[in-house]
Symmetry: C2
Subunit: 441 residues, 2 copies
Amino acid sequence: MSKPTPISGFPEWLPAQRMIEQYVLDRIRNTFELYGFAPVETRAVEPLDQLLRKGETSKEVYVVRRLHAEEGDATDASLGLHFDMTVPFARYVLENAGKLQFPFRRYQIQKAWRGERPQEGRYREFLQADIDIVDRDTLAPHYEAELPLVVGDAFAALPIPPVRIQVNNRKICEGYYLGLGLTDPAAALRAVDKLDKIGPDKVVDLLVETAGASSAQAKACLALAEISTPDASFVDAVRALGVRHDLLDEGLAELAAVVETAASHTPGLCVADLRIARGLDYYTGTVYETQLRGYERFGSICSGGRYDNLVSAGATTFPGVGISIGVSRLLGLLFGANELSISRSVPTCVVVALADERHRPAANRIADALRRRGIPTEVSPTAAKYGKQIRYAERRGIPYVWFPGADGAADEVKDIRSGEQQSAVADGWVPPPADLKPTVT
Amino acid sequence: MSKPTPISGFPEWLPAQRMIEQYVLDRIRNTFELYGFAPVETRAVEPLDQLLRKGETSKEVYVVRRLHAEEGDATDASLGLHFDMTVPFARYVLENAGKLQFPFRRYQIQKAWRGERPQEGRYREFLQADIDIVDRDTLAPHYEAELPLVVGDAFAALPIPPVRIQVNNRKICEGYYLGLGLTDPAAALRAVDKLDKIGPDKVVDLLVETAGASSAQAKACLALAEISTPDASFVDAVRALGVRHDLLDEGLAELAAVVETAASHTPGLCVADLRIARGLDYYTGTVYETQLRGYERFGSICSGGRYDNLVSAGATTFPGVGISIGVSRLLGLLFGANELSISRSVPTCVVVALADERHRPAANRIADALRRRGIPTEVSPTAAKYGKQIRYAERRGIPYVWFPGADGAADEVKDIRSGEQQSAVADGWVPPPADLKPTVT
């Protein structure tokens, strides 16, 4: 076999990086569970027509078929890999509605696939950590205020720079555009969504061309998008623009509650930013984006929003609100910037040294005694000279080597970083807590 | 959207089942880490030619391509979903050999996909938990004795029936067949591998037809396959058959070490069973299969073996030994038999009740105080009558409801199972340890 080469867009981490990723995932999952979210995993594939029906058509879907599929086997011919967790979760809720308790709080940490052009922090296979709350018929707006607290706590538990969650509410934009007299608020939203990419002048042109806005209306749209406040003072700023609409009022009240709830939980976590639109057309209320401070150039690492019409069966609808942490994106960027490291490349805390291959059974018993008390332990691969066995530990960052006592002498354990060696009993010795597991910094 | 239907072979669990699955995965992972295995994840896709080169050609590979792939885009056109972790891991070792420390101990817990006909406990998308140890040039045989200890400990930590690991060594079969005078030991192995499916008489026929055996040689092959002992006494039983070959001696010594190591660690865990062959042609030493006692009819739930020639680059080879727990298979069978249950369907331990929607900020602060001390907490979805809020907890199996004190009175917490209610402080109260997390039985 010749040396294989990576496939662009399908990242693979080295073991030490994967240990960091697991540490991050464990922390995220722990936070989700502290807020009472229950886990769900959905299959990797969905019917292709469902994948193409939702979200942006520009998403590059991967089609999946059996190599030996029979001709005309329609079931097999029409599957694709999911490109996010939202579409599969919506389907899961409908399929299992009779067995779920509503409001239903779930988290879902899984890979997704998109055939987009790979670039820094943007992959074709990537890991996402999602939470959603879905209720039957109506969903209380306080859930829109809760999600930023959850991801705020999740990020705060990670060894990463602080985040800023930018929030907006679709009702504000839509109500404002309607109040202005525009008749196609969706088109106006799509135009304003391009502000970062094409700049204000071209957005004004686009509003005139695609949303039927007059020049004055277009400028009023821009004025709304320019409002950004760390507290509820955005309400006054919007009022000062002089536009009135019931939907606008509703959105302002909801967004004020989101910002105030977040401020009382973690000051500085959320900022109301009325240019945040989110591309997806199914959002109907609060929308979220998240910047990693100091890494704003990388774009949002955690996004989502409220959707009222994504899931319905006959007359029953299941409105929801969700947010998704882009784990691969976050880690890829931080690995690239050398921002994350781990104290060792294996879970092992102790290597039991071997004087002689015949002593392996006795060394196994020592290792078992340590493992029974939760201490990750390996037995030395060979009965080489002790110097070589110590180097085995050293190269992996394993902190301790255990020397079984010969001829009735006590065992000894050596901290190979300090060289300190002391007698020890396998049924009683414990490492300092900081050494038990690898630490991530 | 009409009600979606499941896709055959792509199982999805309800939240309570997924919680059980996560509990099982956490236990398995913890055991792997106690033995010093480091985590690796590989991408879901491999070049199709690599997938088709290894293992059985009968495996039904899923091909993956971008819906909008450009014509003639060779890279995209030739990918498939992996059908196990062994082939991707072999590729990963070659690709990263310069960055890994050998011997390299890794675990890998991931989904795999096979387009086989779905049946009970056999899925098209399934989760596997693998460990492998790979070294450069040579691999010490003691690792073949270590793997059963690891999976034995992993299974013992789960609330499932006890397991029995059946072990054999390819060298025994091959050496014995050569010692008998057979010239195509691989063909003989393939014939004996069908013993369970077609019975002894047809295996004799097959040995004569496909492996060039005489009737006496075929019967001698069967005699070997019938040997099964819980200790190293199989060595004498094989010797009594009167066949001699150096490779046979080597295999007997290695298998005796595996069985004796296991017996000294966990009596009854391993049994030498010389009919175990494993279909895959890349095994060269010890092979493993595992029966769940009382569920033998379901076949092996954990299999693997030693492979010397799977990974090589030029003159360098990377011999390894690995074993794989079929997690979806195991859980599917146990869920089907109603053998596993969990004490609640959400992680939540406490619901904070609401007298009034205006008290939500105060309830949020109580919930935060509990979460800070690791107690999974939700705030009630509505300020409905207390009876309704208690039913919200009851229906999910949440054990505690917290009542914030009004007008300076102390808070109270109610165990809704016993009805017992006591005053409590959010900064100090702790539930009994058994109630903190859901328990699996």
